[in-house]
């Protein structure tokens, strides 16, 4: 299993030399999705909360970095500009996560899902209406000198994605992850054996917010332009959930497979099949069928356990 994982990462490491620029972009964006999905799974797979607000951290990271890059004094700092912009983006996202954790974790189940879904809509409304800061619906440009090529972005995103999956792997075999799973299993029991519930919940949300915000920064630097629909679209929150569920939540490699499959599906539907009718129709129907036919996700489905190579991955 170790060989399989290391081999795939190495393969992804040399892949950019063989890919055309459009495929490079597809891969870069897929890594960003994987980061969001892996982060989503910390809350769903380990802590048992359905978080439909993962995209809020992504958008927040993208916006904070872009706004800072547009400040004239910031642009004089040289390389430090990137550090300060990315650092503040991560800091703001983590702070947002920590502050929001207090009201959010008073809720559970359906209510938690909807309250987190609102986060992204709230940020959307703010981004649209605080036009002096964010450019409103016209969006915001990254100054051209800070633009990041897709080649560089690919490696940064790959590193970040590996790190995000590694976090989940760490959680799957550490006492911290065990504490999360305890809370997922039974909130009250976990409290009565002395776990500080609120502390762990805040920690989970903050850990999950950092890579997502960094993914937002990478996205903004690469695309050079963000607006409320691109950076804070509702699919930024919903697709990670769907990807994690398709792959199987609570497994380390489930999100990887789910993200991969949905991205392949998206690419085929939107770039290759020039269907006479809109691709979104088939995409939506496929999502529906997945939800109906594979309730636990691929990693837990019985037929994947029959494949020896995947069985090892599924057991993590």
């Amino acid at each position: 299993m170790k060989a399989l994982v290391l081999g795939s990462v190495a393969l992804l490491g040399v892949l950019p030399f063989a890919l055309s620029s459009s495929w490079l972009l597809v891969m870069f964006l897929s890594f960003l999705w994987l980061i969001l999905t892996a982060n989503y799974d910390i809350l769903d797979g380990f802590l048992g909360y359905i978080n439909l607000g993962q995209g809020a951290f992504f958008g927040l990271g993208a916006y904070v970095a872009t706004v800072l890059l547009n400040v004239p004094q910031m642009q004089e700092l040289g390389v430090l500009t990137y550090v300060v912009a990315a650092g503040s983006a991560l800091g703001v996202a983590a702070l947002f996560a920590a502050v929001m954790a207090f009201p959010l974790f008073r809720l559970k189940g359906l209510y938690f899902a909807i309250a987190t879904l609102i986060l992204i809509f709230l940020l959307q409304v703010l981004a649209l209406n605080l036009a002096e800061l964010t450019g409103g619906s016209y969006g915001l440009y990254v100054p051209p000198r800070f633009f990041m090529s897709t080649f560089v972005g690919y490696y940064l995103a790959l590193t970040l994605a590996v790190a995000a999956v590694a976090v989940n792997w760490y959680l799957s075999r550490s006492t911290l992850g065990l504490a999360f799973r305890c809370i997922k299993g039974d909130d009250h029991a976990a409290g009565s054996i002395g776990l500080d519930l609120m502390r762990y919940k805040i920690l989970a949300l903050v850990i999950g917010s950092l890579p997502s915000a960094a993914a937002g920064v990478l996205f903004a630097l690469n695309s050079g332009f963000i607006d409320p629909n691109i950076a804070l679209g509702v699919e930024r929150s919903l697709l990670p959930a769907l990807m994690a569920l398709l792959g199987g939540t609570g497994t380390v490699f489930g999100p990887v497979f789910g993200t991969g499959l949905i991205r392949i599906m998206e690419t085929i539907f939107f770039h290759y099949l020039h269907l006479p009718v809109p691709s979104m129709l088939f995409f939506g129907l496929t999502l529906m069928l997945v939800a109906l036919l594979i309730p636990d996700g691929l990693m837990r489905s019985p037929w994947i356990k029959r494949l020896p190579a995947l069985r090892r991955l599924a057991s993590v």
Partner: protein, 295 residues
Amino acid sequence: MARGLELVISGLSLGGVYALLAFAMSLTISTTRVLNVAHGVFFVWGGAFFVILSRHLGLHPVLSIALLTLLFFFLALLFEWGIVRTLLGRSVHLLLVGSIMATFGLGLSMESALGYSWVTFVDPYPVFSSSLVMFPVHLGGVSLSGSRLVILAFVVVTVTAFHLFLQRTFLGKGARAMAQNFDGFLVIGLNPFRLSLILFSLAIVATAISGAFYVLAVPLDPYQGLPLTLKSFTVVILAGVGNLPGTLVAGALLGLAEVITSQFFGTVWAPAVSLAVLFLVLVFRPTGLFGKGLD
């Protein structure tokens, strides 16, 4: 004063439609625990089909509504057999997750199917409104939009019908039992599948018809469905899941708040109202303004 009355009427009619949407949603969530994200899309489809039938095919509005009822009854049957029934046996967490995912996928494809076929077959301009012109009603020197009064009347009639169904009929009592205590419901030998079929057809047909009434006053576009679902969630949670009379009050409050906000702070802030209200209610009163939550 005249302006104030107009504001109240338009706020109430808007809120009434929100309340109806939320009413249907609350009924299905509290009984089956299936969260239908495509709910608002059925609303938009109802509006679109009404415009096609009554305006483009030139049918009488009443006949259009009758055909609409029939069409959406079949759609509801498909929805219940295809999606709800598959989900019903699952554990609470998986049921919630599966229903969000499946109905989100359904909503996406319904939206794009409507958006595409509207532009291709009906009208290149993707906004639909009804051509039925309602004359303004003069009331003590104030002229009110007739279409808004029709909507208000429709809301009152439908809500009363729902209320009577739930309070007086055997099936309605069964639905309340299912929401209150599912095990008890099973013990007395009622059939949850049959009831869920009936409730979903009622909910979807009522939603589609309220869409048809909505386009009398406000134009809709094909991609408004999912945001409307969120708005109807707002009302459901504001009232508390399963609290049907509260839904009516909450819908009216939200409609008024939105109309007043867009009047005094500009239309761009109107969506923020429902979001902020929803967030505050969730945080400070998770069981809704009027108590009795789902969990």
